[in-house]
């Protein structure tokens, strides 16, 4: 089986484990308020202080490095003043593509949601097929291994030719980018279902549907979610690039447009938004994963 999929499995196992730890910690007797609040604040401080310091340091170095008159990039202070309009009003709308960053992000997220949802459903279905049947595995796996290495943007001209429209093309690029890790991880998960669980299902004479819902999906869930998590990251990577070429409303085209108008500060602000959104997407899938797979990863 492909090693990337196998390697990434422990990354889901960990979140599931850590949730369990916090679940166990919950039923502690409610102590008097101040006594409980203090360690909580201390904990938050421990977690938040280092990244805040590092961020401040980076901003400081950036400020110094780009403050000279001949600098090609603006320092953070100038980004703030240049693009204050953008930062302060994420949801203004002057018609056309002259909208706030919030609208652009929403448009991109909408495309990702559609493409990613299709990828999740198709990916799990194909993964089950490939994981279940040795024949499907032998036939499809080489194809998947080749196709998954095609860079997302290389699909764009082909999908534009096929769909003759930007919107479905962008969604197709999201789909084709994020479907592979879902397929491959699901297949690995299905193949790794312990023989014991299969035997339990046999003794109980579970039928195909019951086996699918009660054994196969829960047993493979940690793997499936590893694939989904890799997939959501990839689809966010792909959408920004695809939108640059397709145009219209969307964060990718916003960045391209800003570049054409030499609004470097706007680009920097947009990049921060893109990064934060990608981070939130990843956390969201990870959160759902640890919620759904609680208990599955550790037996």
């Amino acid at each position: 089986m492909p090693s990337p999929a196998l390697k990434s499995v422990p990354s889901t196992a960990k979140p599931a484990g850590s949730t369990q730890a916090s679940v166990v910690a919950l039923p502690v007797k409610p102590a008097p308020r101040p006594a409980r609040l203090q360690p909580l604040l201390a904990h938050a401080g421990e977690r938040l202080l280092p990244p805040t310091l590092v961020l401040a340091l980076i901003l400081f170095i950036w400020e110094i490095a780009c403050s000279s008159p001949g600098a090609s990039l603006p320092p953070p202070s100038q980004v703030l003043t240049d693009s204050w309009e953008l930062i302060a009003h994420p949801f203004y709308d002057n018609g056309g593509i002259d909208k706030g960053l919030g609208w652009h992000l929403l448009a991109s997220l909408q495309r990702v949601a559609v493409g990613y949802a299709i990828a999740a459903v198709v990916g799990v279905a194909l993964g089950v097929l490939v994981g279940q049947s040795t024949w499907a595995m032998r036939g499809l796996d080489p194809l998947f291994q080749v196709l998954r290495t095609v860079p997302p943007l290389a699909w764009l001209p082909l999908s534009l030719a096929a769909f003759r429209d930007g919107e479905p093309s962008a969604i197709f690029v999201i789909f084709i980018t994020s479907v592979w890790p879902v397929i491959i991880n699901t297949a690995v998960g299905i193949r790794n279902i312990p023989a014991d669980y299969v035997n339990v299902a046999k003794v109980l004479r579970l039928n195909g549907l019951e086996y699918f819902a009660k054994i196969m999906i829960p047993a493979a869930a940690p793997y499936i979610f590893t694939g989904l998590r890799i997939g959501v990251g990839l689809s966010w990577l792909a959408i920004v690039a695809a939108e640059m070429l397709i145009g219209g409303v969307g964060i990718g085209f916003f960045i391209w447009d800003a570049w054409n108008s030499s609004l470097i500060s706007d680009i920097i602000v947009a990049l921060v938004y893109v990064g934060l959104t990608g981070f939130v997407l990843d956390r969201m899938v990870a959160g759902v994963a640890s919620l759904v797979t609680r208990g599955t990863a550790n037996s």
Binding site: Q20, P194, D196, Y197, N199, V200, K202, V203, L204, R205, L206, E210, K214, I215, P218, A219, A221, T293, R294, G295, T296, N298, S299
Partner: protein, 265 residues
Amino acid sequence: MTKAYLSIENVGKTFTRGAATTEVLRGVSLDVARGEYVSIIGHSGCGKSTLLNLIAGLTEVTTGGIFLDNAAVQGPGPERAVVFQNHSLLPWLTAYENVKLAVDKVFSGKKSKGERHDWTMRNLELVHMAHAKDKRPAEISGGMKQRIGIARALAMEPKVLLLDEPFGALDALTRAHLQDQVMQIHATLGNTVIMITHDVDEAVLLSDRIVMMTNGPSARIGEVLGVPLERPRHRLELASDPTTIRCRSAVLKFLYERNRFVEAA
């Protein structure tokens, strides 16, 4: 001609992988009466689990046949419930849900929703695990997991209960405790039980008969020893009982004199 309740007739099993074939069992015959408790003992790798899987229907016999209650065994089913060597509870379900899964499936048309709940709880109570019903397997000890596994098997109301080294992975104290519980359940319900074990004391304490297997490959039943001890049995009283001692030494002699363990060839 009437067959015994469980009748294993001249069963052989050969595994084939590509060109390589391994004959694991040859000419195994055994009759088990209803309500009887039979232990199978033999060295590691001789084919005990293979024999149990054949009875369970999880693997198919190569030669011979197995009959339960006058019907040929074909494929696995809940009337031959298995407690596997390593509990094999589903980790994403709670103890209650693990048992309920079996109850729901086996009694889907026969019991109402409320009855199925009661039956699930009754079986958890039987193994004294009702208090941990909402725990997941990862949150309970090995002994508790094994008890849930036994409850799940009992809940299927099997004609024969198949135990594959049910206490193998447990410490001596927990093991003794569970052995007592299984004896009690056997006394109450009168199940027909086939249990694989490595432990001579366990075999003598629990069984009506002990089936001793020769070393593989091509393992056979070497000897069958009846254990004529009154029930209920108490481990402390039996420790110095002459019948116990005689049975123990008979099994030990078989295992260590006549069928010394040889490193797998």
